[in-house]
Symmetry: C2
Subunit: 324 residues, 2 copies
Amino acid sequence: MSERESELMRKIGNSAVAKNRGNRRVLLGIGDDAALWSPKQKRPMILTCDWFLEGTHFLPDNHPADAVGWKCLARAVSDIAAMGGEPQCFVLSLAMPMILTGKWLSGFLSGLRRAARTLGCELVGGDTTRRDEVLISVTVIGELSARKALLRSGARPGDAVYVSGRLGEAEWGLRMLRRKSGIAKVAKAAIRKQLYPQPRVELGRWLARKGFASAMMDLSDGLSTDLARLCAASGVGVLIEDDSLPVTSLVARRKARELALHGGDDYELMFTVPRNKEKSLPRRFKGLPLTRIGEITRGGKVLHTCGGKTVPLHAGGWDPFREK
Amino acid sequence: MSERESELMRKIGNSAVAKNRGNRRVLLGIGDDAALWSPKQKRPMILTCDWFLEGTHFLPDNHPADAVGWKCLARAVSDIAAMGGEPQCFVLSLAMPMILTGKWLSGFLSGLRRAARTLGCELVGGDTTRRDEVLISVTVIGELSARKALLRSGARPGDAVYVSGRLGEAEWGLRMLRRKSGIAKVAKAAIRKQLYPQPRVELGRWLARKGFASAMMDLSDGLSTDLARLCAASGVGVLIEDDSLPVTSLVARRKARELALHGGDDYELMFTVPRNKEKSLPRRFKGLPLTRIGEITRGGKVLHTCGGKTVPLHAGGWDPFREK
């Protein structure tokens, strides 16, 4: 019993690589001081890390273990998608209480393995330690297959602003999850979006390869907050048409708009398209709606049309460091 | 004030890259969804991640902020050194209380910057969030310049076991740090080793390039614990001569041996050398002593000679998951 940490890492390694054998680019996986991985020649690598902390990013009573496993990887992969890249491999820092190393850990690893397979991103290394709460940090390595990465800084006045999918459902799903009872049947789709978000890797790569987009980022903290970040990076402003937002039909329209503007955890892509390329952009990508929600403007103002008036759009999404 | 997280990441980025400009391999640093980095052709990459958690890996009352910054990177880089690799860049996951974002954060960043410069490892990305305690996870990307990585699994019966530097001083330094008063002047060197460990990157690369070593790992959790890991990975046993251990002269000999066998945080390298190569191995590498401490044996037993007797060496180093 004196090698519990190594045992735990082995359990994680065995579980996570079981279905991922045969990747020749992983020269050495879990078990040594570090992992060895073979990059493709001449391709820029994409690096991103993401926290996933009990009480901050997930609620132990509401998020099942396999959703924690799925989501901790999916949200980091979403950052790779947002550059137009392909996820390749990841390392996992996991701290947890001894008492969870049985059933909870198995559920967690099952969700993590499913995400790794679905997203084509293999676990190659990690670090574990004991802690009273579950703490997770995931670092994903991706590769750029397009000529250029899609950055936040490329938006220009006149470009149209698009988003993929529907916004606000994951936030509503979270609110439903927190209710102890009385969850409507229609809420199940929203809860699924909260628990098992689908990073838009294929869409991101396609947009980067086709050259449709001038700027791109993923929506993780809420449209109003993330939009302000894209505008700041590009040195531009924006005018959003609230009527055009792809909102959920599961709740009343007014509430749906609020959710779409400020709700977090969407993991959809937001991108800007120069005018001369808009005509060629389809309305859907493999069934996923691509919706025009506004236009980039000169100056730095982030505005939206609300009840016929044009007013400032306050950044009302998730920001852990905002004073409460 | 609604963009506190972005502000914080910017502060970290500005501080950390300030002295690291001009690295052409960093195509995009902090500020977008992810970082872009250009790998060298045909070189395997080395990936490792390491926790550094308040209360588990450092004590807020004993470890000054700049030591936290130095050590969180240094210990992750030590894993790169243990493969015979060169550190290249890193990403930082940092969670902390709002109240520490002033003076403490500046101290932390100053230590982190000094480590990044000294170790040639540039900060390229990160994630920050608010939390009651300071939580850190560092992922380092390295490259292998030698033909082969030095793994834990290459030790063969008959190989000699070597360690660099002196063992046990960092552990003694930690004990001195925890004392409120009465710290001996001679303890300062040990405290320095506890606070600002020096990963043996140059030695690791040299050993890998010269082909001296058959196996290698870094000593982080204590010789007795790490030795058992190397033996398990190689499918061999070991016999350590306690008399030959490079112990500290700062404490009584018996206590010094105990510290050398089980004390953590050394970040020295342990490596095995085939008999036919031992003669060519110098006793020092750039002033750093290389000491023969025992020999690899057949079978899986981890033994040491203690008071003239050969007895099992119990793994008494640090293991967070051991039952207390």
